[in-house]
């Protein structure tokens, strides 16, 4: 399942523009591949994240993995409710499972992201 409203990375993060903010999460494909998510280390507020660099850590029952910033920007808000209930990412990856919001993000970086149909095609090519 992909959301038409989002843009995507090949490392399975999504970005959705909401006014002045860019909301970031991981895709439905990513949460399925990870399985039950048991822990998330959120980025710190107000830090600058850099496109393509690790900015958060996510753990499932089986393993730990990194989340990469899909675009550069300043962390404006994090979804602190995930710390006690990381399973929200499994249940609603594009909604309640959002991970952080960026402000003053680099708009030029958006053009390097995949739209929904390009991401779907990428998933098929990986399969």
């Amino acid at each position: 399942m992909v959301s038409e409203e989002c843009l995507y990375t090949k490392t399975h993060e999504w970005v959705r523009i909401e006014g002045e903010l860019a909301v970031v999460g991981i895709t439905d494909h990513a949460q399925r591949a990870l399985g039950d998510i048991t822990f998330i280390e959120l980025p710190q507020l107000h830090v600058e994240v850099e496109r393509g660099k690790e900015c958060a850590t996510i753990e499932s029952v089986k393993a730990a993995s990194d989340i990469y910033a899909p675009i550069s920007g300043e962390v404006f808000e994090v979804n602190a409710s995930l710390e006690g209930a990381p399973e929200k990412i499994n249940h609603d990856p594009y909604g309640e499972g959002w991970i952080f919001k960026l402000k003053d993000y680099n708009r030029n970086h958006l053009s390097s992201l995949l739209n929904a149909s390009a991401y779907e095609a990428f998933l098929e090519s990986e399969a």
Binding site: G35, T38, E59, V61, K62, A64
Partner: protein, 366 residues
Amino acid sequence: MDVKKTVLYDDHLANSAKMAPFAGFLLPIQYQSIIAEHNATRKAATLFDTCHMGEFRIHHGDALSDLEKLLTCSIRTLEVGRCRYGLMCNPRGGVIDDQIIYRVGENDFFMVVNAATRQDDYIWIGSRLSKNTRIEDISDETAKIDLQGPGSPKIMRKLMDRPIDGMRYFDFAYNQYQGTRVLTSRTGYTGEVGFEIYCDTDLVSKLWNDCLDLGAKPAGLGARDTLRLEMCLPLYGHELSGDRNAAESNLTYCIARDKPFIGSPAVLDESVRRFSLAAIVLESRRAARARDLVLDEAGVEVGVITSGSFSPSLGKGIALGYVLARYNQPGATLKIKTERQELTGTVSDMPFYKHATGRKRLDEFL
């Protein structure tokens, strides 16, 4: 290496299993969710495909005294109709495999071993038996499924032609499923009340689907691992290996002190023991993993993690690891250096999960 399929492979695909290779077999890791399968085992009933495991028959000749030499557990005190967990050691006291031995008759035994070690075990045992003792590897024609959880006895009673009521923890019995003989034991690898069922390979798919129709949920290797870890049950290749003295594993209940066995001088010599297996509860949901280093509070390396995961029952990370024996004191604080950061943990008593039903009387569930 050739990856084999168990006879239940098509049934797993029909249940949307995520399959992965384990011990040379393509096995289900999970169906829907490891945590849901874990919780269903603790609260209801689940079903595991364990057809990959190895089974031997050892009988005639000097089977009893041969097994006394090969295994750490006492065989002569094992009654017919009972089974027992034990280790098989090398002369250095390291562990070749862990197994369960079933006493079928006075001099007639059935042994269940790990899939990955089956061939080596067969050679190790076969070359150490007396001239008239016989061993047969019946793994290929023996299917096995584990029905586990507090809901399992009711399902088992409906499935079996004969009563199951009298079965105690680690009892086994031949029963009949639709007129065909099956071996059933009140054992498992989850801590919960349950049964391991051995049957012919051509029967197992029907039996599997009957269990599901009666309400058991299929569960994969992912849940099997978190369930056994909460109970501090060792996994060969993690807690047990040829290089690690069996005595350090703290499995003292399965190491007889009143008989010689291969490796017993090394296993019973307390002066060679430096490490001991510790149960460690992490302070958060974040998990330690196998091969992470254990440090003391000053940052000095004192051990290594052998298994680690999030514990669905505790809601925290849990781990087993070998630490210098003086650090293995309940309540002691230890640091664990993971790939990403340093975590804090506390040595706990065993098992991690205290409410398992495995040892309870069967009639409480019928």
